[in-house]
Each structure stands twice: as C-alpha cells, then as structure tokens.
Amino acid sequence: MASLKDLKTRISSVQSTRRITSAMKMVAAAKLKRAQEAAEAARPFAERMERMLGSLAAGVTGDGAPKLLAGTGDDQTHLLVVVTSDRGLCGGFNGSITRAVKRRIEALTSQGKTVKVIAIGRKGVAVMRREYRDKLVASYEELMKPAPAFEQADEVVAKIVSMFEAGEFDVCTLYYNKFISALTQEVTPLQLIPFSNVGSDDKGDEGEVSESGAAYEFEPNEEEILEALLPKNLSVQVFRSMLESFASEQGARMTAMDNATRNAGDMINSLSITYNRARQAQITKELIEIISGAEAL
C-alpha cells in the first residue's frame, strides 16, 4: 500500500489538475459565448448573399454558366478541405472530423478517384501529413487566431479558386464541425464546387424575378457580377464554416474540461478516503504499540 506521503502528493497533484481544467472550462465558456455571437453576426451576410446569388443563378443557365457554378462536368478529382482546431484538449472534436475524412478518402480512392486534401488547423494538418502526405496540397496553421477573420477565409478560397482554374480538381467538399449546441457538434460535409444550391433556386427560364415581379437590371453585366460574386460566396461559406468550427471547438473543450474537472473531483474523493483510512490505521497501530508496551511493564 502507498505510504501516507505518497497519497498526499497524489491528492495535491490531482487538485492542481482540477484547478487547471476548471480554469480551462471557464475560459472555453467565455470564448464560446463570443464565438457564438460572431457566428450569429455573420449570418445576415450569408443569407443576403444566398438571396442575391439565387436570383442571379436562376437567370444563368446552360453553357453560359461559369464553371464555378456548374462545375467541370466531371468528378474524377476530389478536393477535400478539412477544418480542425489548432489546439487539443477538446475531447473528440478533431478525432471525429479526421475519422470522417479518412473514411471519405478511402471510399473515394477505392472508386479509383484522385483525392487532394487541404487542411486547416494544426491538429488536422498533423494527422493528414502523417497519413496522406502525398495527398496534402496545402495546409494552414494558426489561421483562426485569435478568432476567425474574413481575410483568412479569403486566403484559403484564393488558393482553392486558383487550383480550380488550373484544372487541378473537379469537385470540392468542405468538412467542418457544425455547431448544434455547446454539447453537440456534427461533422458536416459541404459541397463548395460546383455550387450545390442551384437546383432549389431554379424558377424557370423567364429571367430573374424580384418579389415585386420586375426583372433585375445588371451593372456592369450579369456575367461579370456572377464572376465576382461566386468566389465571394465561396469565401463566405468557408468563413461561416470556420466560425462554426471555432464555436464547436470551444463547446467541445468546455464539455471535455467539465468532464475532466468532475473526474478529478471523484478521484480526489476516493483518494482522500484511502488517505484517511490509512491515517486511521496508522494511529490505531501506534496506539496498540504504546498500550502493549505499557502492559509489558
């Protein structure tokens, strides 16, 4: 059995662990609140972007449609963009997303497709570099520090678009943790290229119709606007997923740290019981020694 001193050190070390995890939990909770607000603040832009793109996309059909909207018509080469966190200690957050991506990569390669990967976040970069070194085409670390910003999303999108224009891939899918609540996140694939919302906004060939029934005028012209709007839309989507992922990360960390704090508490309890018993046993033993010593006299 461990000596009293050992038990005491053990207890105090678990106690300081608990202090750290509970501090981390509180930090994560504060960050979560901010991250959630940021995700909500970004929503109006994405919604209006969608509305505008919807009224534009409905008008452009057939061969005239830009490739970003319609795709290359092929699906031989897939590009997967994986959004993970930069820091660990957040439960299964990074594990679940890299697992999902791995499954997808295996499935695609077994179908004979070519896969390329862009990883965002240090944790994801590490895993992808280890397992799919030949497939990793770009990686971004510390991108979301201290919080995701639109310029950073733009940077990633610039890379994606330039690769697409060079014909390096046909389909682009983004994998990120969607924020559902502080307790739950869901790994969500989001198809970026070709633009997947087209079907739902197809209102026919009559041209675009606003709520008041009038057709839009375009300045300078429809194609040019669409050309500028599509990459912008990609940035918005990536930015949004980064925000969601960031909020999810804080939520996951909060939950993980909450569990760790509770476990540390349980451990301290059981250790102190053991410690008290051992102490009592020792006192009894010493008393017996004294008494029997006295009796012998």
Binding site: P44, M52, S212, Y216, E219, F239
Partner: protein, 138 residues
C-alpha cells in the same frame, strides 16, 4: 408606395446599418448611384468609395466600403460590402501613411502579380483617404 428605402449594409463580420432612409448614394462600379424609394430593381458591383445615407436634406451617415455588391428593389436596398467602416472612425494620418506605403509597394513590386495586388490595395487606400479628406455632399 413607401416614402422610405429600407437600407441594409452588411459586411461578412456583422450587420453595420439597418434602417429606413430617404436616399442612399452608392459608389457603383460604373458611376455613383442614388437610390430613392421606387428605384428599378438592380444588381450592381461597388467600387471602393463612400456610401452616403441621406435623411431629410442632409447626409446622416457616411460609410467607407472597400468594394462589394448591391441589390436594389423598389422597397429595399441591400449592400454586401467586403469591409465597411464609418468615415468618422478612419484615422487620417494612418490613411495617408497607407497610401504612401502602398505607392512604394507598387514601384518595388517584382512580379506582375505582386504589382497588380499592390495596385488594387492602393486604389482602396486612396479611396479611403479621399473619403476622409474630401467628403461629398457637404
């Protein structure tokens, strides 16, 4: 017909302005555009410049945008801006230095790509400086 335009200015980070106004003047890519109630539906791109919001006969608020898109219908006007800052928040000194620095970047650029990028940034910075120094519709 409503006698006000529901104007909204959103940047990716947040909703910057939302409210009923008499008129908005936008720096569209092919010339400034004044939007009043009952305007024909338009979708246009925006160049770097100042958005002036009119209430009554005077400018209520000026906002600098670095570019973006605008969607106008008869009742509302929505601007999707890349970045937007209220003009009163722009630091004149910082804007001046930025223009100077970027001017140097343009002349020092080694590749065509770098040069194009620096020039694009310079245009934005110059528009920003202009927004502070010589505001329109005073």
């Amino acid at each position: 017909m409503a006698d006000k335009v529901a104007f909204e200015l959103v940047s990716p980070e947040k909703l910057l302005f939302s409210g009923e106004v008499d008129m908005v003047v936008l720096p569209a890519s092919e010339g400034d555009m004044g939007v009043m109630p009952g305007h024909a539906p338009v979708i246009a791109t925006i160049r770097p410049g100042t958005i002036c919001i009119f209430n009554g006969n005077s400018v209520e608020k000026r906002l600098f945008v670095a570019g973006g898109f605008v969607e106008v219908t008869e009742e509302r006007c929505t601007v999707l801006a890349d970045t937007a800052t209220p003009v009163e928040d722009i630091d004149l000194g910082a804007a001046q230095t930025l223009v100077k620095d970027l001017g140097e970047d343009v002349s020092h650029a080694k590749t065509e790509e770098e040069k194009a990028k620096a020039e694009a940034n310079l245009v934005v910075a110059q528009a920003k400086l202009q927004a502070v120094e010589t505001p329109a519709y005073r």
